[in-house]
Symmetry: C2
Subunit: 198 residues, 2 copies
């Protein structure tokens, strides 16, 4: 029989949660099922997470930390904003379970300090990448940051919800999209003048 003390229950439950969410989506996950998967009584996980929301909060925080690391890693390598955007999308696709939980405040304890700290770290990594953009351009920096975040986040979300053609390689398509909007060697998407009126 297994020992009374699991040893690393917290880790194990988080890992099981990732599996369960990957299989059935964030809605189809229950603390009791996770406990069963890990081989622990139904109230075991409660001791580590307090709540179901507590579990998902921990998962989201872990996700933001991973995202921050991924972004910082590619920032050290390339300085290319396009590549940074692709890294964001790659994270969302590869760590789908984390990503799906990170932007669902209705599932969190939104005031959790670990969560806020990790989120800010990821935000800083992204904002830092925006710094590398258009120094010559005044179009204010905050708007540029919001635009950049919007496009990569929107792409990632649409991909993960199956709204983009499933035949493609997401990273390749994301690269084309980012290059079209932010790239240097690509023509930039613009409205034809005669149709434009604001």
């Amino acid at each position: 029989m297994p020992p009374y003390h699991h040893g690393d229950l917290r880790r194990a439950v988080l890992a099981a949660a990732v599996d369960a969410i990957t299989e059935h989506g964030p809605a189809g996950v229950s603390l009791r099922d996770l406990a069963r998967r890990v081989g622990v009584s139904h109230a075991g996980p409660v001791h580590h997470f307090k709540d179901k929301a507590g579990l998902l909060t921990a998962l989201a925080a872990e996700g933001f930390a991973l995202l921050a690391d991924a972004l910082n890693a590619t920032r050290e390598q390339t300085n290319s904003f396009v590549e940074l955007g692709v890294a964001y999308v790659r994270f969302a696709v590869r760590h789908r379970a984390h990503f799906e939980v990170m932007f669902r405040p209705d599932l969190h304890h939104t005031d959790d300090p670990a969560l806020t700290e990790a989120r800010e770290r990821a935000g800083a990594a992204l904002a830092g990448g925006v710094e590398a953009l258009g120094e010559q351009r005044t179009g204010d920096r905050r708007t540029a940051g919001v635009a950049a975040w919007s496009i990569v986040h929107g792409f990632a979300t649409l991909w993960n919800t199956g709204n983009l053609a499933p035949g493609d390689d997401p990273e390749e398509l994301a690269h084309r999209v980012a290059a079209m909007l932010f790239g240097d060697d690509q023509p930039v998407l613009r409205a034809s003048p005669e149709l434009q009126q604001t």
Copy 2:
């Protein structure tokens, strides 16, 4: 006492669902609670929607229909792609409950014909707006469509999850973002050449 037959239970339950989701998010809604709000026994709604997923599927379909109408309406008025994007964001903010359910395939009966039809109608409205963009430009149409959808969807999602500065007027900010990327009278966001390497 209320009559045995409600008269328009389906409508009433959908409306109650919108309220409940607006208050507690899509996770915090139960068929039984909706039944209570409407003044009907706990299994009343089941007859109209079959399932909880059936309810949310109907809500999502209604949402896509409303979105398609909104997009087509502004398309008739302006021909401006920027305005079309703002209309998308406006819909997401004003019909938050619908929007939050529309892109959650894990909550749907994904094969529901009404849902697919409404989604395609909305997709066509958006794609039609992209047609108005850059005729002079070859940067292939599909990539342009994905880029446009990504940016408005990303912005809407980030706003609704509270990740953008809450002090602002979302439509105004969305307008600035869209104008920065797609507008004609605004400088276009580009990477500074020396930092760009793909």
